[in-house]
């Protein structure tokens, strides 16, 4: 996608100016292999999203996509300049806790919380696909991420509205 170079997005960077993907990459942390973004209805709403907190606190920059067309554009852009392009609202972004110690801790927590994850799964039934223990949340008790295969929350909403309009 040659036009990708021309894309401009708002970002969690303090500048308040739009950035290009190239500029974003130049600011990426050393251990970061993914261009991360978060879609939503408006800039103000996305900035308050509970899942941004940990990324900002850990010094990761996230692109903020408030235009409905943004997500449709970037979902066809799986990679840019050899970097993956992913939404942090999906469950396959994993920048936290990739070292052995953190993985071991996560495994222990998962075992410890098995009665509760089982309970949630049984109680919520078809409403959820999966219940797991998070390492991405700061203040919220729970959050719903979407599968990397399939619709995002934003796309589900747009789809519902279209179905109603027809």
């Amino acid at each position: 996608m040659r036009l990708a170079k021309l894309l401009r997005f708002y970002t969690t960077d303090e500048s308040e100016e739009m950035t290009s993907l190239d500029d974003y990459i130049s600011r990426m942390k050393d251990d970061q292999d993914t261009i991360m973004y978060l879609p939503g209805d408006s800039l103000a709403q996305i900035q308050k999203s509970p899942i941004l907190k940990k990324y900002i606190a850990s010094g990761y920059e996230v692109l903020l996509m408030a235009d409905p067309i943004d997500e449709f554009t970037v979902q066809h852009l799986a990679e840019y300049e050899k970097k993956k392009v992913k939404s942090i609202a999906k469950d396959d972004v994993n920048v936290f806790g990739n070292d052995d110690q953190a993985k071991e801790k996560q495994k222990k927590l998962k075992e410890m919380y098995k009665p509760l994850t089982d309970f949630f799964k049984q109680h919520l039934g078809k409403r959820v696909e999966k219940v797991s223990i998070s390492n991405k949340l700061v203040d919220e008790p729970l959050f719903i991420f979407t599968s990397q295969y399939g619709y995002s929350a934003q796309m589900e909403k747009i789809n519902k509205h279209q179905a109603m309009a027809n």
Binding site: P39, G40, D41, S49, P50, A89, D91, L109, M112, Y113, P115, L116, T117, D118, F119, F120, Q122, H123, L124, R127, V128, E129, K130, V131, S132, I133, S134, K136, L137, V138, D139, E140, P141, L142, F143, I144, F145, T146, S147, Y149, G150, Y151, S152, A153, Q154, M155, E156, K157, N159, K160
Partner: protein, 114 residues
């Protein structure tokens, strides 16, 4: 088509910690009231995660009961009309003059004010 939803729990959150103990202590069987709070948490997560709710009352009805808890009101107490004591209506003679007040209307002279 709907999105596939993966629910993630925050293991450091006090409510989640408490829930784990509660579920373990009760062998996974919780009261209706507790289940309602869990559904409320789920629905809040839906909204926080950018989903829209088809049925807002699924959120507002449990919230209303939760507000009662915050104000120490019974969750199930029904609304009851308040009995108000009404004064006996006095019989008014039909051609009584209505008192419009004897006072002359006060005329403010703007020139005095200035």
């Amino acid at each position: 088509m709907l999105a596939k939803k993966n629910l993630e729990l925050n293991p450091s959150h006090p409510t989640i910690k408490t829930l784990l103990e509660l579920v373990k202590a009760n062998d996974g069987t919780l009261s209706e009231e507790k289940l309602e709070y869990i559904d409320l948490m789920y629905n809040m997560a839906l909204i926080n995660s950018g989903f829209s709710m088809d049925e807002p009352s699924e959120l507002t009805a449990p919230l209303e009961r939760l507000i009662r808890v915050g104000f120490n009101v019974d969750r199930e107490e029904p609304c009851e009309e308040i009995e108000v004591e009404l004064d006996e209506p006095e019989q008014q003679p039909e051609d009584e003059e209505i008192d419009m007040g004897d006072d002359e209307p006060e005329i403010i002279n703007l020139n005095d004010e200035l």
